[in-house]
């Protein structure tokens, strides 16, 4: 099962290496990892999607906790949360197919962000399901390149699990 871990870390050089290295050497699989600083510039948040059974997730969490620069870990898989991914898709688009592609873009509330002679770049945000769906819809036209950010997530409600625990 996929788990989403929301991890607060010190915003210092080397922290990403420590986290990534830990996953690699203990044989855990990262599905995606997104990192950026929080409202407090000294702290970054990592959203890590990791595949594994309960035992593996427990070990991942405990091992992450041992890293001195990891401040707080929440497994938000079961919590009500909003999650988004951003994807840029460069798709083949000769004039004959442009209208059709534009319709798909509209249906998914995506945006065209670049026009090339024979291609378009499309920007989509949404959850994993939506992103996979638009990717599949565009597939027949020929996808040249895809860039995905990985998932970011935030727990719903007034209290945001942040800062000091």
């Amino acid at each position: 099962m996929k788990h989403t871990l929301s991890v607060l870390v010190e915003n210092k050089p080397g922290v990403l290496t420590r986290v990534a290295g830990l996953f690699a050497r203990r044989g855990y699989n990262i599905d995606s990892l997104a990192v950026g600083r929080t409202e407090n510039p000294e702290i970054s948040r990592m959203t890590i999607v990791v595949e594994g059974d309960d035992r593996v997730i427990e070990q991942v969490t405990k091992q992450l906790h041992k890293l001195i620069e990891v401040i707080k870990i929440n497994d938000i898989t079961e919590d009500e949360h909003v999650h988004r991914e951003l994807i840029l898709i460069k798709v083949n688009a000769d004039p004959a197919h442009r209208m059709e592609i534009m319709q798909i873009v509209n249906v998914f509330r995506a945006r065209v962000v670049d026009f090339g002679r024979n291609s378009l770049i499309i920007e989509v945000t949404g959850d994993e399901g939506k992103i996979n769906a638009i990717e599949n819809s565009l597939h027949p036209f020929g996808i040249r390149e895809v860039v995905r950010t990985g998932k970011v997530a935030m727990v719903r409600g007034p209290k945001h699990k942040n800062g000091k625990s």
Partner: protein, 564 residues
């Protein structure tokens, strides 16, 4: 007051109470060594190779309970430390390692003697730092000590670029250390403690299982009360030998791959295993699914990540062993448990530790005698890695914590002698004996020079069989007696080797020479090599074969003792 980075570094070490630093100088640490020689409080011990500096710091730390400190230059100096750091990490030994680094503007350019030592040591240290700004240096050193000695102890490395140690800064040592991401749990959960006490009180066949964490937590006294209150037998890991007196009737000695036969049988039979400061290492459990199959398991450890890692646990209890025992002991009922103890006694009688008597000199016998001659003295025993290590664990009979130093987790050959040097420097009045073999000793025998320079009367008890006989034993069992790359034909004459350093050399070749020659060696006050000439066909028994349960061990059999 303006001081250099190197000066604030040394002042911070002094502030931490450091009196001994093991190390080896070089270009990138020139400013640090320049400042170090001005210190009246810190003595520097110059080793012969950097790895020995970490092992010596580890020996110092394990015997004194303080943080061991070592130092090396950038590049090869730093990489030579790596095995030592990994050794300390696996055995949870508090060591602070300071390395020099090329100047910050050169970092990343493949400069002369540049190596990314923080990158290299990331998986084998508790934490590490690359100091980029001299203003952070004293705070980082203080944090390094705090991290090394608190929680589950371990090595912490601080990499100091040359320009940082040369730079001027304000004299400032922060009083408090505050790391928001690092708050080890010391106090156990009260309900869990209550539940643990219930399990202990209800168990019919309990066994206590103590590990190195009990030593780190200084909980030997509390452990003894637990053992005596419950009347339960106690077994320990290799690293915990001495935390409970092995001469006590309730002691089962060490368990595991080469543990005592009775410890292995009793653990397999028990209905409750109380693990204290242990990590259920594979050398201890054998095949995990066959390990204590009928037992409920209580696991008390300060490192939450250890709980449930190797063995499924019925009752986890995170916290400091001593703190938890203090709360647990009043809830534990005093009882006799005659039935179980009679059973344990029977197993002990039926399956004692055994070795043969046919050869001219038996290493097991020598170690037994070493135990008898030194157990009541103020003594520290270190070992290397190999057959001698296992025989020391089986036959010495340790009675006090912090008297047995060995590389248990990483199994680093070459650990014993430098660790003995560190132990002797931290305990000038104690008798320090390094038990070793010809293979291990040759990995760091250049440290004889370090011992001579510092007038250290370390005794090296060297079992010489011109062979890597534990590897030979593995090949005997697992490679169909086809021996590969285990024989040494170029060993030196170890007696003359000792003498060329101005040390004493004593050779034992026969059983009857053992006691008088050991006495002669132990009672002199100089550095001494005692060479015991033994057979390479000796085997360590019992032995739990790969993927077998502890109760499926291979026993010693009469008549099969010499080179079957």
């Amino acid at each position: 007051m303006a001081v250099t980075g190197a000066e604030i570094l040394i002042k911070t070490l002094e502030y931490e109470g450091v009196d001994t630093v093991f190390g080896y100088p070089g270009g990138a640490v020139l400013p640090i060594y320049d400042a170090l020689k001005e210190s009246s409080k810190i003595k520097h011990i110059l080793v012969r190779q950097e790895q020995a500096a970490v092992h010596a710091a580890s020996g110092y730390a394990r015997t004194t309970g303080k943080v061991g400190v070592c130092m090396a230059t950038s590049g090869p100096g730093a990489t030579n430390l790596v095995t030592g750091i990994a050794t300390a990490y696996m055995d949870s030994i508090p060591v602070v390692i300071i390395t020099g680094q090329v100047s910050t503007e050169m970092v990343g350019t493949d400069a002369f003697q540049e190596v990314d030592i923080t990158g290299i040591t990331m998986p084998i240290s508790k934490h590490n730092y690359l100091v980029k700004n001299v203003k952070d240096l004293s705070r980082i050193i203080r944090e390094a000590f705090h991290i090394a000695k608190t929680g589950r102890p371990g090595p912490v490395l601080v990499d100091v670029p040359k320009n940082v140690s040369a730079q001027l800064t304000k004299y400032n040592i922060p009083e408090d250390v505050d790391l928001r991401g690092y708050k080890p749990t010391y106090k156990g959960h009260p309900t869990q403690i209550k539940n643990a006490a219930e399990l202990i009180n209800e168990a019919k066949k309990p066994v206590i299982f103590a590990g190195g964490g009990v030593i780190n937590s200084e909980a030997a006294a509390e452990l003894k009360i637990l053992v005596e209150k419950t009347s339960a037998p106690i077994t320990t890991t290799l690293n915990a030998l001495g935390v409970f007196p092995e001469t006590h009737p309730q002691s089962l000695g060490m368990l595991g791959l080469h543990g005592t036969p009775y410890a292995n049988y009793v653990v397999t039979e028990c209905d409750l295993l109380v693990g204290l400061g242990v990590r259920f290492d594979d050398r201890v459990t054998g095949a995990v699914e066959k390990f204590a199959p009928n037992a409920k398991k209580i696991h008390i450890d300060i490192d939450p990540a250890e709980i449930g890692k190797n063995v499924e646990v019925d009752l986890p209890l995170v916290g400091d062993v001593k703190t938890i025992l203090e709360e647990l002991l009043p809830l534990v009922e005093e009882r006799e448990n005659r039935e179980w103890n009679a059973r344990v006694e029977k197993i002990k009688k039926e399956y004692p530790l055994k070795y043969g008597e046919t050869l001219a000199l038996r290493p097991q016998y020598v170690i037994e005698k070493l135990g008898e001659l030194t157990r009541d003295k103020d003594v520290v025993i270190t070992t290397d890695v190999g057959q001698h290590q296992m025989w020391t664990a089986q036959y010495y009979k340790f009675t006090k914590p912090r008297t047995m130093l060995t590389s248990g987790g990483l199994g680093t050959m070459g650990y014993g002698f430098p660790a003995a040097i560190g132990a002797q420097l931290g305990n000038r009045d104690k008798l320090v004996v390094a038990v070793t073999g010809d293979g291990s000793f040759q990995m760091h025998m250049a440290e004889m020079g370090t011992a001579v320079e510092n007038n250290l009367p370390v005794k090296v008890l060297l079992f010489n069989n011109n062979c890597l006989a534990l590897v030979r034993q593995l090949q005997h069992f697992y490679c169909n007696k086809s021996y590969s790359a285990v024989d040494f034909s170029g060993n030196p004459d170890f007696i003359r080797f000792a003498e060329c350093y101005g040390a004493k050399g004593i050779r034992i070749t026969k059983t009857e020479e053992t006691v008088p020659k050991l006495e002669e060696a132990l009672n002199n006050d100089s550095l001494t090599i005692i060479e015991c000439v033994v057979s390479n066909e000796e085997m360590v028994y019992p032995m739990v074969p790969n993927n077998k349960g502890l109760n499926e061990m291979i026993h010693f059999e009469e008549g099969e003792d010499d080179g079957r």
